[in-house]
C-alpha cells in the first residue's frame, strides 16, 4: 500500500514569552492509502495538535517544525494559497463538537455547498444538487428537506453526519477525525463509526482517527500509535498491539480498564505533568513501574521490535536484544 502522508521529526512548541515549550516532539509516522490510522492518548498528549498541524490550523502561538509530506509535498513549507487548495479538498477534518463546529446562521445545505464551490468551478444549483447526494450518502433521511435546516434543528448525531458530509464533499484522500464520537451517546457513536467505515471503503479514503478510547481503536483502526507527553510510545498493527502490548504505558492503559467485577484495577500512578515539568529522560519514567535510573537520564528512541511493532522503552527493547 502506498503512503499518502508522512510525518518526519514533527515537533510542535508553544511560544511562552521568549522561550519555547515543546509539547510534541520528534513524531514519525506514516499513513497509508485507505487505512484507518489510530492515534490514542490521554488529554494533553498532543494528539489534537498533531492533527491541527497537518492542516496548518494550529493556534498562532504554536510553531510546528519538521516535515509533513503529503503526496511528496511538504505541507509545512507550502505558501498559504497552496495550502488553501489542499485544506478541505485533499485533506479534511471533522471535530469533536458537532454543536460548535457548524455555523448557526447558515442552513446546513449552504455550508456543505460552500466546500464544493470553494474548490470546484461549479454553479450553485449544481452544488446544491450534489449536496443532496452527499446528505444521502451520510444516511440523513429525506435529504431534500433537511438541506434547508439550520444546525439547531438537528440532533447531535445528525450534526455530526452533516460535518462528515462537508468533509467528504471534495473526495479527500485523507480524513482527520478528531474524537468524532466523544460528544455522542453510545448508540449514536456506533452508527457514526459504521458510517465512517463505509465511506472509507467506498471512497478509498484514509482516516486518521484520534481518540482516547482504546476499544474504539480496537474495533476501527488498522494501525495505531499510542501517544504520551507529545511522543509516540508504541506503534503497531492493531491486533499486534492488543495481543502483545509492550510499552508500560500501553499496558497501564489496558489494565486501567475495568474487567471482572471487584478485581482491583491496576491504574497508572500519578498524573500527566504540565509540558514544562516533563521529567528528564523518558517522559513516562515518573509514572512507570518498570523505571530504572537509566530511564531518567536519556530519552529512549522509538525502536523496531519486530515486524511493524515499534516501542520507545529501553526496558523493553533492551530485554529483547539480550
Amino acid at each position: 500500500m502506498s503512503v499518502i502522508l508522512n510525518a518526519n521529526n514533527l515537533s510542535i512548541s508553544f511560544k511562552h514569552g521568549k522561550s519555547l515549550i515543546s509539547v510534541v516532539s520528534d513524531l514519525n509516522f506514516d499513513i497509508k492509502r485507505s487505512e484507518v490510522f489510530g492515534l490514542v492518548g490521554e488529554s494533553g498528549c498532543g494528539k489534537s495538535l498533531t492533527a491541527l498541524s497537518i492542516l496548518r490550523i494550529l493556534p498562532d502561538i504554536a510553531v510546528a517544525k519538521g516535515e509533513i509530506l503529503f503526496n511528496s509535498k511538504n505541507l509545512l513549507a507550502l505558501d498559504n494559497e497552496e495550502m488553501r487548495g489542499i485544506r478541505g479538498k485533499d485533506i479534511s477534518m471533522i471535530f469533536q463538537e458537532p454543536m460548535t463546529s457548524l455555523n448557526p446562521v447558515l442552513s446546513v445545505g449552504c455550508q456543505i455547498a460552500e466546500a464544493l464551490t470553494a474548490h470546484f468551478d461549479i454553479s450553485k444549483t449544481d452544488a446544491m444538487n450534489k449536496t443532496v447526494e452527499l446528505l444521502r450518502s451520510v444516511k440523513i433521511p429525506s435529504p431534500e428537506l433537511r438541506i434547508k435546516d439550520y444546525p439547531h434543528q438537528m440532533s447531535g448525531g445528525m450534526r455530526q453526519r452533516v460535518m462528515i458530509a462537508m468533509a467528504i464533499a471534495c473526495n479527500p484522500s485523507l480524513l482527520i477525525a478528531d474524537e468524532p464520537t466523544t460528544a455522542l451517546d453510545v448508540t449514536i457513536q456506533a452508527r457514526i463509526l459504521e458510517l465512517l467505515q463505509g465511506l472509507r471503503q467506498d471512497r478509498n479514503m484514509a482516516i486518521l482517527l484520534i481518540t482516547h478510547d482504546l476499544s474504539i481503536i480496537s474495533e476501527q483502526a488498522d494501525r495505531v500509535a499510542i501517544m504520551y507527553a507529545g511522543r509516540i510510545m508504541e506503534l503497531a498493527d492493531v491486533d499486534e498491539l492488543f495481543k502483545n502490548p509492550l510499552h508500560p504505558y500501553t499496558t497501564g492503559l489496558l489494565e486501567s480498564l475495568p474487567t471482572d467485577r471487584g478485581v482491583p484495577l491496576k491504574p497508572i500512578q500519578g498524573f500527566v505533568p504540565a509540558p514544562e515539568l516533563f521529567p528528564e529522560g523518558c517522559k513516562f519514567s515518573d509514572r512507570c513501574h518498570l523505571a530504572i535510573d537509566e530511564c531518567r537520564i536519556a530519552e529512549p528512541r522509538l525502536e523496531n521490535i519486530s515486524g511493524n511493532h515499534f516501542v520507545r522503552c529501553i526496558r523493553i527493547s533492551g530485554s529483547k536484544e539480550s
Binding site: 448525531g157 453526519r161 456506533a190 476499544s215 495481543k243 497501564g252 480498564l257 475495568p258 491504574p267
Partner: protein
C-alpha cells in the same frame, strides 16, 4: 378513608422494616415546562416519568442511560435539589418527599453527592481546608479545633497528603479535584452517596484510580450505599450490584448487574450493550455482527422528550416492534429475573 390511609402507611412501614431498603423511590415524576413561543401553549418535558426503585443497604445501585434520559434528574430529586411533582421518596422508612428546614438539613447529613465535573464543583476562591470544613461548620458535628485533624484524616482517606489543605482548586489536576469532592462527600459519614457521572470528565488512567478509591471506600466504611449514575457500561458492570436502564424518563429494565449484562431482555438494553465498543481482535471475530440490531434506517436518533411517541417510547427504533407497541406504553413488570417494561415479556 382516613383509617384506610393509616393502615396503608402502617403496612408500608412494616414491610420496609423487614426488607429494609435504605432508599425507596416510588412512582416519582418530574415534568419541566418548555416554552414553545409566544401565544403557543407550553409543552411538558417528561424528564422523569413514574420511576420506582429501591436501594439496599451496603449496595451499589447504578442508573445507566444516554443523555437526556433523566438519570441526573433522578439524582437531583433524591438529593432534594429539585422538588418532586408527584410520587414519594423514603429514606430509611421515612417519607422525605416534602420535608423542610431542620429535617431537610438532617437528611442532607446522610445523603451526599459527587458531581461529574470536578472543575466546576469546587469554589475557585476557597482553599481546600475551607471547602472541606464547611460541612463540619454547618452541621456542628465536631468542636472547632477538631475540624483540622478530621480534614487531614479525610484527605488521607482519599489518597491526598495533608499539605493539600492550604492550596486552591486550580493547583490540582482533575483526578485530584475529584478526590477532594469525594472527601467532601465523605466528611459527614453519609449512608448514601449519589455519584452523578463521577468518572466521565477524567482520563482512562485516572478513572481507574478513582474507581479503585470508590471500591476502597465501599470496603472500608461500614454501611455505605451508592447510587451510581453513568453512561459507561464497563464501569457499571464492574462496580454495581443492581442496574436500572433508563430511556426517555422511564426505567425500561432493572435487574442484578450480572444478569442484566449476561442476558439483556429489553431491546433497548440489547442495543446499548451491543453498541458499546469492546476491545476485540478482528481476525478472530470477523463477521460477528448482530444483524438484527443493524436495522435499516436507524440513525440512532432519540425522539425529543417533549414530543414522545405514542405507546412505548422506544418503538420507533425497536427492531423487535410488534403491533401493540405504538399504541400502549408497557408497564415495568416483574419477569423471571428482574423487571422489564416491554410487551414481549
Amino acid at each position: 378513608m382516613n383509617s384506610d390511609l393509616n393502615n396503608k402507611n402502617q403496612a408500608s412501614t412494616i414491610t420496609s422494616a423487614i426488607s429494609e431498603p435504605l432508599l425507596n423511590v416510588e412512582n416519582i415524576k418530574k415534568y419541566f415546562q418548555v416554552k414553545t413561543g409566544f401565544g403557543k401553549p407550553n409543552k411538558w418535558l417528561r424528564a422523569v416519568d413514574n420511576v420506582s426503585f429501591s436501594v439496599k443497604k451496603d449496595s451499589v445501585f447504578a442508573i445507566v442511560g444516554e443523555s437526556g434520559c433523566g438519570k441526573s434528574t433522578v439524582a437531583r430529586l433524591i438529593l432534594k435539589l429539585l422538588q418532586l411533582d408527584s410520587g414519594r421518596i423514603f429514606f430509611k422508612g421515612k417519607d422525605i418527599s416534602h420535608i423542610k428546614s431542620d429535617k431537610l438539613k438532617d437528611f442532607r447529613k446522610s445523603v451526599q453527592i459527587v458531581f461529574q465535573d470536578p472543575f466546576s464543583s469546587l469554589n475557585p476562591r476557597m482553599r481546600i481546608i475551607d471547602a472541606l470544613s464547611e460541612p463540619f461548620k454547618i452541621h456542628k458535628l465536631v468542636p472547632k479545633k477538631e475540624i483540622r485533624p478530621n480534614i487531614e484524616r479525610l484527605l488521607d482517606d482519599v489518597g491526598l497528603s495533608a499539605d493539600a489543605m492550604n492550596k486552591y482548586p486550580h493547583e490540582f489536576s482533575g483526578g485530584q479535584r475529584q478526590r477532594i469532592c469525594i472527601a467532601r462527600a465523605l466528611s459527614l459519614s453519609p449512608e448514601l452517596i449519589v455519584a452523578d457521572e463521577p468518572l466521565s470528565a477524567l482520563d482512562v488512567s485516572i478513572q481507574a484510580q478513582i474507581l479503585n478509591l470508590f471500591q476502597d471506600i465501599k470496603k472500608r466504611k461500614t454501611s455505605i450505599s451508592f447510587v451510581f449514575i453513568s453512561h459507561d457500561l464497563k464501569v457499571v458492570r464492574y462496580f454495581s450490584d443492581e442496574v436500572a436502564v433508563m430511556y426517555l424518563g422511564r426505567i425500561v429494565e432493572k435487574a442484578d448487574t450480572e444478569d442484566l449484562f449476561k442476558s439483556p431482555r429489553h431491546p433497548y438494553t440489547e442495543l446499548l450493550l451491543s453498541s458499546a465498543p469492546k476491545i476485540r481482535f478482528r481476525s478472530e471475530e470477523a463477521g460477528v455482527v448482530d444483524e438484527s440490531l443493524k436495522q435499516k434506517g436507524d440513525t440512532g436518533d432519540v425522539p425529543s422528550p417533549v414530543d414522545l411517541p405514542e405507546g412505548c417510547p422506544f418503538h420507533p427504533r425497536c427492531p423487535k416492534k410488534i403491533d401493540v407497541c405504538d399504541k400502549i406504553a408497557p408497564e415495568l413488570k416483574e419477569s423471571d429475573r428482574g423487571y422489564v417494561a416491554c410487551h414481549l415479556y
